[in-house]
């Protein structure tokens, strides 16, 4: 048999892979380590389904130290962020968090990211690791143009742990002896005797926190969480969890060639703020787009994968950008850019999975929810 490759892997053969401060812990736990965006990352420890289920029913911890951090500070910080980010940055209260897109002049999505307001004119942006260097260059260019603001790469300053699941907050709060910020809020804390940031955000559809730690204390904190019953989870489960709740993955569902409107992210674009890309995005919102990103479920056998063609009445009608087996629903699920008239929930389409046409139905977001 031919052995599998992790999708979204960006191997950089010439470069040595970077390692997180928890690399040794992953190796000792017997994790399957794979190259991911230039990093050597755990894809799973005991199995993706088990880890997935731990996050849906209990609590799991992900080492996401590969993600990047950028600090933005100065009297011009708000004006600068308002110019480069799609959302209304003025709405972020002190200690607040906000999701937005970083767009190019054509309205294409360079990255999707969370911004946390740490001080009056001090913000922290968390970037996707594959985009971190390009984001920095882009932000640097605009900061020099607008002035009164400093953009600092602080990625090396932090390890990042995401603790997610219905019991995640309780366990973190008890184990580390700290008070946690509410959802969509950020707070400073002392963790392992060092300053840390705790954010009420995540990428799984479950309650939980993301913690930015001093890299030196990441190993003991990781060990404390595991001792408290939190299950170590890899990027494999992170992907199935996020796709079940239709969170976008940049590089798959979002690219510089697609705008936030067709991606279903119009809600985090405030064109009246005049951000870079606002005009084409306003036009897309007004005129509609030829295609839209739509979640779907396979009816019957088959697992859709990135790149599979979508067909309607036998005619090409789109492409799958994310696809997997859903451990919660036990069927194939995905998101695809389809002809706009097909994007309504309930519409039947076919997915060409390696030459086999699989029946699928466009669904509403999220694909999985607890109430059902």
């Amino acid at each position: 048999m031919s052995l599998p490759q992790l999708s979204n892997t960006l191997p950089r053969v010439a470069d040595a892979l970077r390692r997180t401060p928890l690399h040794r812990q992953h190796a000792e736990l017997g994790a399957k380590l794979v190259p991911f965006a230039g990093w050597e990352m755990p894809v799973t420890y005991e199995g993706i389904r088990e880890e997935h289920s731990a996050v849906r029913t209990h609590a799991g911890v992900f080492d996401v130290s590969h993600m990047g951090e950028v600090e933005v500070e100065g009297p011009g910080a708000l004006a600068f962020l308002q110019r480069v980010l799609s959302n209304d940055v003025a709405k972020i209260a002190l200690g607040g968090a906000q999701y937005s897109c970083l767009c190019n002049e054509e309205g294409g999505v360079l990255d999707d990211l969370f911004t946390y307001r740490l001080g009056g004119d001090r913000y922290l942006i968390v970037t996707n690791s594959a985009n971190h260097d390009a984001d920095l260059a882009w932000l640097g260019r605009w900061s020099r143009q607008l002035g009164d603001v400093t953009v600092r790469d602080v990625a090396d300053r932090y390890a990042m742990l995401a603790v997610q699941g219905p019991h995640a907050r309780g366990i973190v709060s008890r184990t580390l002896g700290i008070e946690l910020p509410a959802r969509m809020r950020v707070a400073t804390a002392r963790i392992g005797g060092r300053p840390a940031l705790v954010c009420g955000t995540g990428y799984t559809g479950e309650d939980g926190v993301e913690m930015l730690l001093d890299p030196e204390v990441a190993p003991p904190i990781w060990a404390e969480l595991l001792d408290a019953g939190v299950v170590p989870c890899g990027l494999g489960a992170r992907d199935t969890l996020r796709l079940e709740v239709c969170f976008h993955l940049h590089g798959n569902d979002l690219t510089p060639e697609r705008n936030p409107i067709e991606a279903g992210l119009g809600w985090c674009c405030r064109e009246e703020t005049g951000f870079v890309g606002a005009e084409p995005i306003a036009a897309a919102r007004r005129d509609g787009t030829a295609e839209k990103l739509a979640p779907f479920k396979i009816e019957g056998a088959g697992i859709p994968r990135e790149g599979n063609p979508v067909l309607s009445a036998g005619v090409p009608a789109g492409v799958v950008t994310s696809g997997t087996f859903s451990p919660s629903l036990e069927l194939g699920i995905g998101m695809a850019y389809v002809r706009a008239d097909l994007a309504e929930p309930g519409t039947e389409v076919e997915i060409d999975v390696r030459g086999k046409h699989r029946h699928a139905r466009i669904a509403s977001k999220p694909l999985y929810s607890k109430e059902k």
Partner: protein, 131 residues
């Protein structure tokens, strides 16, 4: 998914498939412990049709884990006479019992002499050590 093991009574293909010869011209095929471990939890097995002709070194089926899909390579040539239907509802048997309940197909061999080109368990273990 117990520890790695490669039974001595099987023949191995370097693409991580095994064949168990039955009589002069029949064989059962499956994937090795190494293959299922690399793949992770198998969630879907797409078997060939009974009666289909398969060629040595070519793909005859697909197995999928949560994360990825893989072609299954035929260790020998022949005609499919039976597929393991139990895997439709329990594909995880490929992980749990790769050489037993996780078998994939039974084949009537058209070139039984191809067995001479396959590896013994020791040779296959060496191949894995050096890869």
């Amino acid at each position: 998914m117990a520890d790695a093991h490669y039974p001595d009574d099987l023949l191995y293909h370097d693409q991580h498939d095994w064949a168990r010869l039955e009589g002069d011209d029949h064989a059962v095929f499956g994937i090795t412990w190494y293959a299922q471990d690399s793949l992770g939890e198998v969630v879907f097995y797409d078997p060939p049709e009974v009666g289909a002709t398969i060629d040595k070194d070519a793909s005859y089926a697909e197995v999928e884990s949560v994360k990825a899909v893989s072609d299954v390579i035929a260790p020998m040539s022949g005609e499919i006479v039976e597929v393991n239907d139990a895997l439709e509802d329990a594909p995880e048997k490929i992980n749990e019992d790769a050489y037993g309940e996780g078998w994939l197909v039974k084949v009537k061999l058209t070139h039984p002499e191809e067995a001479g080109q396959l590896l013994g368990a020791d040779e296959y273990r060496k191949l894995l050590e050096n890869s």
